[in-house]
């Protein structure tokens, strides 16, 4: 392993568990060789995984920093690197990882004591899960927790067991699930997240953490504004093509901001000031 300190040089870890979450999402557990985590992170930060021969891609770290044993990455199969991760990687495979990169959700200051509303769509739960489990492990530091999560179908919920059994049993924690279309065996809500939000009639005194496909983010934000929320209350996390992870390779900028370094977490009023190029 390398101790050179250059940020572009990864460390070697090992995949110790692979959980098939949905038809196209798997969660990979990564530990240092010999156990423990490769590095510490904060909720919302990202790491770059290598598939030697194919290259690197950046992913949000889905496990909470409070987890002392390992890091987890929930990864949707949608490109060349994620294809390899899904099809070629088995438990015991060693993998190169570098990070952590980017800023994080303000769990240590601005979110303390706040009632928090999480809104996620599809694989957008991956970065949220890190924050949710962090807050649940430090439950008394935060107010009420509401989690609104939408997926295409029941089979597309990531961590269904955690959603339906673990989280709802925590103090003042409520999970609201919705799927896009009616489905046999589903008696929960049906419909898209933005409308579901309005039906749930949240009061605009909550701080919102929002992540999902760009179109969902835009529509949810519009719904929240209609409900009386302001853009400064809404945090989201962005994703763009990245190579270096440290604001030098010139790839992930939106205007003067580099998503890898200045983000990925932004408030929606910050995003308003950026060119519409994401």
């Amino acid at each position: 392993m390398c101790n050179c300190g250059d940020t572009l040089i990864p460390q070697i870890g090992v995949i110790t568990d692979i959980c098939t979450e949905t038809p196209d999402v798997k969660t990979f557990r990564v530990e240092a060789i010999g156990g423990g985590k490769l590095f510490e992170h904060m909720p919302g930060q990202c790491a770059i995984l290598s598939m030697p021969g194919k290259g690197e891609a950046i992913f949000s770290i889905t496990s909470s920093p409070t987890n002392q044993k390992y890091m987890e990455f929930s990864i949707k199969r949608c490109g060349s690197i994620t294809d390899l991760l899904h099809f070629d990687v088995e438990v015991g495979q060693q993998i190169a990882v570098r990070g952590p990169y980017g800023n994080h959700f303000p769990v240590e200051d601005k979110l303390q004591g706040k009632d928090v509303l999480f809104i996620a769509g599809g694989i957008g739960l991956a970065p949220m899960r890190s924050v949710i489990n962090y807050m649940l492990d430090k439950r008394d530091d935060y107010g009420s927790i509401d989690i609104v999560y939408g997926a295409r179908s029941k089979e597309d919920f990531v961590r269904y067991d955690e959603l339906t059994n673990v989280w709802p049993s925590q103090k003042d924690t409520h999970v609201h699930l919705t799927i896009d279309r009616p489905q046999e065996g589903w008696d929960g809500n049906v419909g898209f997240v933005p409308n579901f939000l309005k039906d749930l009639k949240f009061t605009p005194d909550k701080t919102v953490l929002l992540c999902g496909p760009p179109i969902m983010i835009k529509l949810c934000l519009a719904a929240l504004i209609e409900m009386g929320f302001t853009k400064t209350q809404v945090y989201t996390t962005l994703e763009l093509k990245m190579k270096c992870g440290v604001g030098k390779c010139g790839r992930c900028n939106i205007g003067k901001k580099y998503v890898c370094k200045d983000g990925p977490v932004f408030t929606c009023d910050q995003i308003d000031e950026m060119p519409n190029e994401y």
Partner: protein, 342 residues
């Protein structure tokens, strides 16, 4: 001030070569001038601007970062360390010398790029005062003194002589080692040449070119200007401007399998003008040529100044010379200046 006869240049280079790897401007196979490692017989070309900038010395077009070895499920990696030997970069014009300070803001800001840093720290820069500025030159726009590059040692070719003035401690130390080859000189000839160069500069087409303050004043206003459509229409997306630009620093990181079990990872220059630069599995935020063209100039004229307080341009004029579609930063800045929506 010191000097030596130009005829003694090979002798000087041979002496410098004993101290460090020496990079000099010389004719390449295509007959163009570019930097190359000095060896006996290399014909040094001090009177032309190099066709590529001098950034290769610190940010090479391609460099290997590491090697992966896989064996079954096991993976090991070996970092390919940046070179740690001393280099001397000879004949750097003032525009290129300034570009290093701009690249420093990118590569030496936290987290420091150790590859760039190693090359930069191990290098001694010998500047060369401009005597024949070209019609495409506009370094004065950025407050650069063409006759006095920001370097460790400065040199000037006047007639059949090379004048030599150490500036930094590093430059003085090298000069000390080489002292036997020089004779003392006064600076009269260099001063006269400097006046003549400034006189030429004042008569060149871009002598009074300035970048209007309003361009960088409001990011979104400049971004949304209608000028980008017309400006970008004839761009061929060939990326030449990027590769010859001394301040362009975008790079890619790629893997190359040398055999079934071995992968080399390298970094290479990339360009924001390339169509796949920002392409992801789920889409591309800069789909059109207009968006990519705009990105490059917004970076130089707006984003870089916002982040670093300076334009990402040194007025070397290479994009004016090399663009096959006659597009360049001057044309863009002028179009934005006269546009009524900026």
């Amino acid at each position: 001030m010191l000097k030596l006869a130009l005829a003694k240049l090979p002798e000087l280079c041979a002496l410098m070569q004993k101290e460090a790897e020496l990079l000099v401007p010389a004719k390449n196979k295509a007959g163009k001038v570019d930097y190359k490692a000095y060896a006996e017989g290399v014909e040094i070309c001090l009177n032309e601007k190099t066709s590529r900038s001098a950034k290769d010395a610190f940010f090479p077009q391609v460099e290997n970062l590491l090697k992966f070895k896989s064996e079954g499920k096991n993976l090991s990696l070996e970092q390919i360390l940046p070179p740690d030997h001393a280099t001397i970069l000879f004949g750097v014009k003032a525009c290129d010398a300034r570009s290093f300070k701009l690249l420093d803001k990118v590569f030496l800001s936290n987290p420091v790029d150790s590859y760039y840093k190693a090359r930069r720290e191990n290098c001694l820069i010998i500047g060369l005062g401009c005597a024949e500025p070209e019609e495409t030159c506009f370094c004065a726009t950025f407050g650069i003194d063409a006759t006095n590059p920001e370097a460790d040692i400065n040199t000037w070719v006047v007639g059949e002589e090379l004048y030599w003035a150490p500036v930094s401690e590093k430059g003085k130390a090298l000069t000390e080692k080489l002292s036997a080859i020089f004779v003392e000189a006064d600076d009269k000839a260099v001063k006269e040449q400097g006046e003549a160069t400034k006189n030429i500069l004042s008569m060149l087409p871009l002598a009074n070119f300035k970048i209007a303050d309003k361009i960088s004043a409001k990011e979104l206003v400049t971004f949304n200007s209608k000028v980008w459509g017309d400006l970008s229409a004839t761009c061929l997306s060939c990326c030449t401007c990027t590769y010859v630009c001394p301040t362009c620093h975008c790079y890619d990181i790629r893997d190359y399998k040398t055999d079934d079990n071995t992968t080399e990872r390298f970094r290479c220059w990339d360009s924001c003008m390339a169509s796949d630069f920002t392409k992801m599995a789920h889409g591309n935020p800069r789909k059109t040529k207009l968006e990519r063209f705009r990105q490059r100039y917004m970076h130089k004229l707006v984003y870089f100044p916002e982040n670093n307080g300076e334009y990402a341009c040194v007025g070397c004029g290479r994009c004016l010379e090399k663009c096959p579609a006659n597009l360049n930063i001057v044309k863009v800045a002028k179009a934005l200046e006269v546009s009524d929506d900026v």
